[in-house]
């Protein structure tokens, strides 16, 4: 299957899922529109539309940056949260909620974005101007560990158990009750970050043969590295800031896509973005089906989808090693 056909199929699927997200429970929607057209319009424009846009955009940046990072690091286990911006965003949100008293999902998002950008700046500062891929990852792991520890410290010193409950649920990831303000807040850094990562797609194939060969083929490896790191930091930071931690999409989606594009890292980037958008929108549809009277959290669903896939990867690796 060529990349173009795959992209068209995934784009069609993403459109169908987006429509399903927008027109979820159509019978109820029609009924409400008959009784109170303004309420139906408000449900569509103020609740469903932001949820749909954020589902598509966040899924896309998670898939895209996952593919970009795996290509850069030549490591199939790389995921967007490896650079520390996700944990930085979580820490920023906890701080904003507890100690600055900024409430609501938009307040958490503001804190989260500040945390993500701070983590990114710290990463660039720690790795230095002549950063190698290894030094960036080491710095990312260190920042991620520090931000996780500080988040746990803040949670354990929580001034109010209700605030703790709010933040814990926020950290599990959700697209519910997000508004167009969230969209306007998160979309610009996600677009800029996604564009930065995507701009490396032509050169990143050369990295499959190592950084030296990529340089000898005329690629500016240092520039490519910084574009992916800054792009991932911005886009994933914004995503976590508005929707909480949504794991596994950035890790799993590139694996699903790669066999269809001949395992070329650059060719996997656009389909990974489209498949990420599909997967997150599908997961968000799934969480709307109440289980035991509760709406599941998005991060829980994506992790439950991702873990079996990981197990399959391990089993396949074992089978190959044995053959």
């Amino acid at each position: 299957m060529t990349s173009r056909i795959l992209n068209i199929l995934l784009a069609v699927l993403a459109t169908l899922l987006a429509l399903a997200s927008l027109l979820w429970a159509p019978g109820e929607l029609v009924e409400v529109s008959k009784r109170a057209p303004d309420v139906a319009r408000a449900i569509l424009i103020e609740l469903r539309l932001p949820r749909m846009i954020l589902g598509l955009a966040i899924g896309a940046v998670l898939g895209l940056t996952g593919a970009a990072l795996q290509g850069l690091l030549r490591n199939p286990l790389a995921a967007p949260d490896v650079l520390g911006s996700s944990t930085g965003a979580a820490f920023g949100a906890v701080l904003a909620s507890y100690y600055l008293g900024i409430g609501g999902t938009l307040g958490l998002a503001l804190g989260g974005m500040t945390g993500a950008v701070t983590a990114l700046l710290l990463l660039l500062l720690l790795a230095g101007p002549a950063a190698t891929t290894a030094s960036l990852i080491l710095a990312g792991v260190a920042i991620s560990a520090l931000a996780s520890a500080l988040t746990n410290l803040a949670l354990s010193l929580a001034p109010s158990p209700f605030a703790l409950y709010d933040v814990l649920f926020w950290l599990l990831g959700s697209l519910a009750d997000r508004s167009l303000d969230h969209v306007l807040f998160a979309l610009p850094p996600m677009i800029v970050g996604g564009w930065l990562a995507l701009s490396t797609r032509r050169g990143i194939d050369a990295l499959a043969l190592g950084e030296e060969v990529a340089s000898s083929l005329g690629q500016n490896v240092a520039a490519m590295r910084m574009k992916i790191v800054i792009g991932t930091g911005l886009a994933v930071g914004a995503a976590v800031a508005v929707a909480g931690a949504i794991g596994f999409i950035g890790l799993v989606v590139p694996h699903l896509v790669r066999p269809f594009v001949g395992h070329r890292p650059g060719a996997a980037m656009i389909p990974s973005a489209l498949a990420g958008a599909c997967l997150l929108t599908a997961a968000d549809l799934f969480v709307r089906v109440p289980i035991a009277g509760q709406e599941l959290k998005l991060g829980v669903v994506t992790a439950m989808l991702g873990c079996p896939f990981f197990l399959w990867l391990i089993l396949r690796g074992r089978a190959r090693a044995a053959s």
Binding site: R202, G210, E212, S215, S216, L217, H263, R264, P265
Partner: protein, 236 residues
């Protein structure tokens, strides 16, 4: 001076100031014991490391050349045969055309044939043996028909037939006017296939000249601790 010319190229402590000229149409063999600085010199020539010295390509400083222009004219093959993803052989070879900004099926077919990997052009690179993979990566270096080829141990991991076939192909590249610089550990191959040899030891150029002159009995004993014997080489 035409060709790839290095003046005072140094990367301490591995390489002391060294000068050399790779002329169009010649196969220059870089020889020396392990740790003599061959790979360091090759990387410096390919502008992959920073340090003292100057490299010019037809009298133009290579650092002044735009990266894609330099990449079109100088191909580099490292000793590590890395392939991070299980890409198709044909796609791997096509990477060599990246500086040209497009693809060229005829050029890819020619490179596949030169490296004798036509038979598995559609296979994944991780499904090949080490030697087959080495030939695929060599095809990647050859595909753009560069003016200069800098190849680190192009015959490593190859069987005897393919060692000779690859060296024959490289002689063909020199015949079309390319300057070919190869590092070799097999002194018999270096003697037979290279027009000129540059001998390194301890990061210094010890000798530069015809294979006959460079591989004198005294140098073989002094630098490599071997001497010629009926069956090839023996330790001394």
């Amino acid at each position: 001076m035409t060709g790839l010319v290095a003046t005072g190229l140094a990367r301490p402590p591995m390489l002391q100031p060294t000068s050399l000229a790779l002329r169009p149409g010649e196969v220059l063999g870089l020889i020396g014991p392990n740790g003599s600085g061959k790979t360091t010199l090759l990387r410096a020539l390919a502008s992959l490391s920073a340090g003292p010295g100057r490299v010019t390509l037809d009298d133009t400083d290579v650092r002044a050349l735009p990266a894609p222009v330099r990449a079109r004219r100088i191909a580099y093959l490292p000793a590590e045969r890395e392939a991070g993803w299980p890409m198709r052989v044909r796609d791997v070879v096509a990477l060599g055309l990246m500086p040209f900004g497009g693809t060229d099926d005829a050029a890819i077919d020619r490179a596949l044939a030169l490296a004798d990997v036509v038979g598995f052009a559609d296979r994944r690179i991780d499904h090949l043996s080490t030697g087959e993979r080495a030939r695929v990566l060599l095809a990647r270096a050859l595909v753009g028909r560069p003016d200069h080829l800098l190849l680190d141990e192009p015959t490593a991991n190859l069987d005897a037939h393919h060692q000779l076939a690859i060296l024959d192909a490289l002689r063909g590249e020199a015949a079309r006017g390319a300057g070919v610089l190869i590092t070799l550990h097999d002194l018999a191959l270096a003697e037979r296939w290279c027009d000129r040899l540059l001998l390194l030891d301890g990061g210094r150029a010890i000798a530069d000249g015809s294979p006959h002159d460079v591989l004198s009995e005294s140098r073989l004993g002094e630098i490599f601790h071997v001497r010629r014997a009926e069956s090839g080489w023996e330790r001394c």
